[in-house]
């Protein structure tokens, strides 16, 4: 057999390694800044592109796709060549991949800071960048599979299985989740709405964790851990079992991000059970890693690289146990929307991804530069700073999460929420936010030490760009299984077939959990009162999206007493059918906003309140940590885009009337005028064409449709209860009794009215003086004017009685009564 000589390309590996370090520092600095902002809102600097809602996505995207992404490529480009005994398929594709990816990162950072966002977490980037990502990813794919094709090793090692699964899954996830309808160069709407959008997004979001943060890193672990430890991998069988179970089960688990939300029960249950089944497959990776270290723990103690690796693998085991636990509905009902999730992802991010990356770099840089690590001591200090950093980051947040979660749920014996003011629950956890900053500082300073250490290492070594290697050429193997060959052994030398089965494993769960939400109508019951947004509300919604309000505010009231008491009616699937994109959020740093438009509801605030609050939250409440948004008051609304937006929505199936796009601007101006006048009556002068007006319109729309639904449905009940007029003394006496306890505060003792409520004894009526009209006012109330809906507070008999009693007051013309209001009803 002929031995062939060839060269490994180390230059591309070096490029990706440098990019990893560079973006790691950037991503972590931004992370530190947002941690500081959450404790001290001053550090939002009242500047749009530095405000939390805009830069939190920069942090997440930078650490996931820039730091971890480049780390993946570093490890993949290094290990693929060695495991397959070949140079990468194409130097040029490698270079396009490298520079394309860095370009994407820069574009992402700039556009996110400027507010161009889809608002779907970890998929925020606008459509031109999405296309660029897809192209660069395909370039990577060609290089990856091309390298496999030109390999000199018959079988693919387990690391490569994981690389293949990662590539296939990320391709499908990115393409499906990013289908958007562009309306301009940097603005688009997702084609999915509401529940469907949420489901697709969290199928993507969860599996970005699975196939970007987990499986590629398992591949790296399978290469670098046994390599550095000099030990054989503990169990090949375990590799097979946990690889296939992991990729098959992972893809189903997305709905656990939406437990107790407006998602059908069956879909939620899929999220629960597949998360629980994920424990053993995930632990398979940890166990195989840790057992490979058996017999060399003394070496682990002395080698910083292995120390980082051991902690990384342990952190992986911790967070993959925690994840399934958080997916159990009872636990989720306490932890969701709290900082628990933030702590959880940072155990994974800082522990697993961060430490494994550091481990790889400490091993790889000396190797690439043919030297030894400059200082083991510095690396050890980094190890301890990093470990302490994780502890100081995570523990305060776990504490904060339990504290706040329990405070949200606590009731007094009288049946009131113990902490009805959201601020009380936030103030309680602010000290933990300060401690968390310390964790971030420790972790980051460790990374700075690493950079110094690696620079010194690089300086003392000499880089080998082209590393000579040799291996026998690949012999042609039988197509069919040969005698004694296991099925899996056969698959390992058939990359196309292997990839096919990987795709099958990934698609089964994807299709079964998502398609029914589109195909089966009953999964999202229609609510007839839910109407499309008005043009102004739609514009306001786009501002809400642009400013990243969803990073702190949910729009999803879960069916818990503690939430319906605090926010109002719980969220229904049918409410979100026109929401492109959905805005359910994932963390409640501030209160839920799903019901802010319900006049008389618990979350309603006036236009003047919103105006002042957006201008300066701290002036309204000194303890608030919300950033100020003064630019919304200055910025002119992009009114000209309105027809285009309406047309796009129509294309997506939102039922605006034919030709409405042409009328949209007129309607928008009318509504804006009303809000502007409302503000003026409260002494606030602001032109109707400012962004703040649109945002207020959106705030006043949220959750309103369903409260109107309630009015409708009770109105139909009201026709069932005939307003029967009782005339017997006993009933009228009882009615007078009810009146005395409930009505005199606003309508005075004899019905003559007072400063609050109108006179009931004259012939003038604001909401109609017919028997039916009076009964309706009593029954459903006029919430906007402060009249209660008594159907909730009185029995049917009492309603009839007080109604009958009220009729006896009609026309009594009590002296000294309030002046007539409304229209006269002729008797």
């Amino acid at each position: 057999m002929q031995t062939e000589k060839f060269f490994y390309d180390n230059k591309i590996v070096k490029c990706f390694a440098y990019a990893t370090i560079f973006w790691g520092i950037i991503g972590m600095v931004v992370g530190l800044l947002i941690a500081i902002q959450l404790a001290f809102p001053f550090f939002n600097f009242s500047t749009d592109f530095l405000t939390y809602g805009r830069i939190r996505p920069i942090h997440t995207n930078a650490v996931i796709f820039a730091f971890v992404g480049n780390a993946i490529f570093t490890g993949v480009y290094y290990s693929m060549q060695r495991l397959l005994k070949t140079r990468m398929f194409s130097d040029l594709l490698g270079r396009i991949h490298f520079w394309g990816w860095q370009l994407i990162i820069v574009l992402a950072a700039v556009t996110l800071a400027l507010g161009f966002t889809i608002s779907k977490e970890y998929a925020e980037l606008e459509w031109p960048i999405d296309i660029l990502i897809a192209l660069v990813w395909i370039v990577f794919g060609i290089n990856l599979f091309g390298t496999i094709v030109v390999r000199r090793v018959q079988h693919m090692y387990v690391a490569i299985w994981f690389y293949i699964a990662s590539w296939v899954a990320v391709t499908v996830l990115h393409v499906v989740n990013s289908i958007e309808l562009p309306i301009s160069f940097l603005k688009s709407y997702p084609v999915y709405a509401g529940v469907q959008d949420a489901m697709v997004q969290w199928w993507y979001g969860h599996n970005a964790v699975a196939f970007f943060l987990t499986t590629p890193f398992l591949g790296l672990m399978y290469y670098f851990l046994p390599k550095a430890a000099g030990r054989p991998v503990y169990s090949y069988k375990l590799s097979i079992i946990h690889f296939w179970t992991l990729i098959f089960i992972y893809i189903w688990s997305g709905p656990h991000h939406l437990l107790y939300q407006a998602l059908p029960d069956w879909a939620q249950t899929i999220g629960v059970i597949f998360s629980v089944m994920l424990i053993a497959p995930s632990w398979g990776g940890m166990i195989n890693g840790l057992l490979t270290l058996r017999g060399v723990w003394d070496k682990v103690r002395e080698t910083p690289m292995l120390k980082f690796m051991a902690v990384a693998v342990t952190a992986y085991g911790m967070s993959t146990f925690e994840g399934p636990m958080l997916s159990i509905k009872t636990i989720n009902s306490l932890t969701h929307f709290t900082d628990w999730i933030i702590a959880h992802v940072h155990i994974g991010g800082m522990g697993w991804n961060g430490f494994l990356t550091f481990s790889m770099l400490y091993w790889l840089i000396p190797v690439l530069f043919r030297t030894k690590l400059y200082s083991n001591r510095l690396a050890n200090i980094h190890f301890w700073l990093g470990t302490l950093g994780i502890v100081f980051y995570a523990i305060p947040l776990y504490w904060a999460a339990i504290t706040q979660g329990l405070m949200w749920k606590e009731f007094t014996p009288e049946g009131f929420l113990r902490y009805p003011n959201f601020m009380e629950t936030l103030v309680q956890i602010l000290p933990m936010y300060v401690t968390r900053i310390l964790g971030g500082v420790l972790y980051l300073s460790g990374v700075v030490l690493m950079v110094i250490n690696l620079i010194k290492t690089i300086k003392q070594g000499s880089f080998v760009a082209e590393e000579e290697a040799s291996a026998p050429a690949l012999e042609k193997a039988a197509k069919k299984r040969i005698l004694g060959e296991t099925i899996h052994g056969w698959l390992e030398r058939k990359p196309a077939l292997f990839s096919f089965w990987v795709a099958v494993a990934l698609l089964i769960g994807s299709i079964i959990s998502i398609v029914p939400l589109f195909a089966v109508k009953t999964n999202i019951p229609t609510i007839s009162s839910v109407k499309p947004y008005t043009p102004l509300e739609l514009q306001g919604r786009d501002i809400y999206v642009r400013e990243g309000c969803y990073t702190c505010h949910s729009q999803q009231v879960r069916p818990f007493r503690s939430e319906t008491e605090r926010y109002g009616e719980y969220s229904k699937a049918g409410e979100f059918v026109y929401d492109h994109p959905f805005q359910w959020g994932s963390r409640r740093t501030g209160p839920d906003l799903a019901r802010t438009g319900v006049v008389g509801g618990k979350m309603y605030k006036t236009a003047a309140w919103h105006f002042n609050h957006m201008l300066s939250p701290q002036q309204m409440n000194p303890q608030s940590i919300m950033p100020p948004y003064p630019w919304l008051i200055v910025n002119k609304l992009d009114i000209a885009s309105t027809p285009r937006k309406i047309k796009a929505m129509t294309t997506l199936g939102v039922p605006y009337p034919d030709g409405y796009a042409d009328l949209a601007i007129e309607d928008l101006m009318k509504q804006a005028q009303t809000i502007s006048e409302d503000l003026k009556s409260n002494g606030i002068e602001v032109a109707p064409d400012r962004e703040i007006i649109a945002l207020i319109a959106y705030m006043h729309r949220l959750g309103k449709d369903i409260s109107e639904l309630n009015a409708d449905s009770t109105a139909s009940q009201a026709t069932l209860v005939t307003p029967e007029i009782l005339t017997d003394e006993a009933s009228l006496a009882k009615g007078a009794e009810v009146y005395k306890t409930n009505c005199i505060a606003c309508h005075a003792d004899k019905g003559q009215g007072n400063a609050v409520g109108p006179n009931l004894t004259d012939n003038f009526w604001i909401h109609g003086g017919s028997n039916d009209a009076i009964f309706k006012s009593l029954h459903d109330g006029i919430p906007a004017k402060g009249m209660q809906a008594w159907k909730d507070l009185l029995t049917k008999e009492q309603l009839q009685q007080v109604f009958s009693f009220t009729l006896t007051l009609k026309g009594t013309q009590v002296a000294g009564g309030r002046e007539p209001q409304g229209t006269e009803e002729k008797q």
Binding site: R82, H155, Y157, P226, K227, G230, P232, V233, S235, Y236, K237, L238, Y260, D265, W266, Q268, T269, V272, I273, F274, V276, M277, I279, A280, P281, W283, G284, L291, W363, V367, K372, E414, G415, F416, P420, N421, E424, P559, F560, R561, T564, Y570, V599, G600, G601, Y604, T606, A608, W609, Q619, M620, N621, N682, C746, N754, A755, P783, A784, K785, G786
Partner: protein, 201 residues
Amino acid sequence: MSQEENNKELDPTKVVSEIKEEENSLLLPHDFDGIKELDNPAPRWLMYLLYFTIFFSAVYWVHYITFKQGPSQAEEYEMEMAAAKANLQQQENVVEIAALTDEASLAEGKKIYSEKACYSCHGQLGEGNAVGPNLTDAYWIHGGDIKALIEVLTNGVPAKGMAPFKDQLTAQQIQQVASYVLSLQGTNPPNAKAPQGEKAM
């Protein structure tokens, strides 16, 4: 140290797996860039954990989804609300409509004023701000006697942004905070908002 050994140490890529003697029988024939694999079985407990979670999941699905034996999300909510209603003590939530003047009650009222963040709309000293009216002058939009104050506190003035507090405070607490607000009359705090509404008698 010989040159060769030194090179080996400087080049970890040349390191191959060290195999302990007892592992020889488990060693698989392949070698990937020096990485060997053992043919150990997957740990038994891990496999049992996998089977158990699959079994648990099957039972869970059949129980909740196939046969709907467990409550749905909506039913769970109804149960929670019903249980809360049943547990709620039917207490006398009625007080005499009269202003309190004793120091303890006023102190309690002041505490509630700050706990419920009344200041965010009415100012720390009741002077009012861009949102809410001045509570220290003699002018009232919705009436300035104890009765009117209790009414506004209880049911709110939703259209104007005044929240109803009947879900947050007992009747006694409302009476205390209303009395405290009345005690602010004529205190003339700085930056007071201009009068709104009608002058009280």
